[in-house]
Assembly symmetry: C2
Homo-oligomer: 233 residues x 2
């Protein structure tokens, strides 16, 4: 398989990067600067891809914020919601049509490289607040990407039936340097430990029974208790 | 209709802009700087949208060139092919997956604005060298964009059954300021008159029987003769 991976530098896509390499794939990794507060993820992406000796490029789409209103991920004047993804406040983290944008960029590079797939780390825990995480959307986009060039390019989503805990398990087997990945939406010096993506990250390590090497700014016992209770550890 | 128009500042999309406004549409116009040599089209887009008092934004995607090789539209070191689109050399003007990229950006803005459609100036003369000008691609992308948000957004292609001559006719009726639009891939001070898009522009005015106000650097009688012969004027 010759593939372009939509690569954020986060937990899921880093495990997918290692997974694709382990499967013998010829992998190029594409990251996107869309003006996200957590630009640290781009540093993680570059560092990890370099460590693996893989081609990695970052596309500057930081002017995307001009088109978005009310998105706390790209507007530093808005508060970043805390708590679990299930909460309505998390809708402020939706970047409209983000998946199509990133995968369209990855498809452009895939066409140029003569790759046969575009890979991304869709998983079974993707959230109901994101319309472009729906299975129907992924299938429709696959159909469109197949027709974007004369040569057929497919979407590759090998983790689509795994939950985030299973992804951590897979990552542990592959020797993924979890501590070098970045998830937190706040983009501070350490993971905040309280935003939706931090809570999800902590939950995933709990579920997998894998030690979480992440340094959280907020190592609140109450969050650990909530996570432990949710997962009945 | 509340719509976001993928707006290049060229002939077709400017006529579509005027058409949508004439039909009573609430129109926002989106241009993309993708590192094209002919950045002059972006000046045309801004000037014409401003003249109409419409919201207009330009997204900077100039780093796209990093993903493309062999594309003369974004690489000034490559020669720009001259002559008719039908010629094989014109493949150097293909920007892989450009339509999906531009329409995905327009859809992002459409979601933010609460618009119901994304419009673009697909027409019956779109060229066989561009895979993403195929009807099957447009239909697949329409299906994907419909699912990109909870609210359905559709692709709107009112010129899809018109040829470029008919678009010029429509533009003449609407009072489109043709001389302010920009087509030429070379992006010089004047339209070169020889590249694929210049020849197509000249042909369209011939076909429509509308006076062409464009200043061509190369007002070659041989090109005029070729166009007249092709269209049996």
């Amino acid at each position: 398989m010759k593939t372009v991976l939509a690569y954020s530098g986060g937990l899921d896509s880093t495990v997918l990067l290692y997974h694709l390499v382990a499967e013998g794939g010829v992998v190029s990794a594409l990251s996107v600067n869309y003006g996200q507060r957590h630009q640290r993820e781009l540093d993680s992406a570059r560092a990890i891809a370099t460590r693996l000796g893989l081609p990695h490029k970052t596309i500057d789409l930081s002017s995307l914020g001009k088109l978005l209103e009310g998105c706390s991920l790209t507007n530093p004047d808005l508060p970043m919601p805390q708590g679990h993804y299930a909460e309505p406040s998390m809708k402020a983290t939706v970047v409209p049509n983000r998946n199509m944008l990133f995968l369209a960029l990855a498809a452009s590079w895939a066409i140029s490289l003569g790759a046969d797939t575009v890979s991304y780390a869709a998983h079974s825990g993707d959230h109901a607040i994101y319309p472009d995480c729906r299975e129907t959307f992924a299938q429709a986009l696959d159909n469109a990407i197949r027709l974007a060039d004369w040569r057929e390019i497919r979407l590759n989503r090998p983790f689509v039936h795994l939950d985030k805990g299973a992804i951590v398990e897979r990552g542990a087997t592959l020797g993924v340097p979890f501590a070098r990945t970045w998830s937190c939406y706040e983009g501070g010096q350490f993971h905040c430990g309280r935003c939706g993506t931090c809570i999800e990250r902590r939950e995933a390590f709990h579920r997998a029974g894998v030690e979480d090497p992440t340094l959280y700014a907020s190592d609140s016992p109450s969050i650990d208790a909530m996570i432990a209770k949710n997962w009945r550890l």
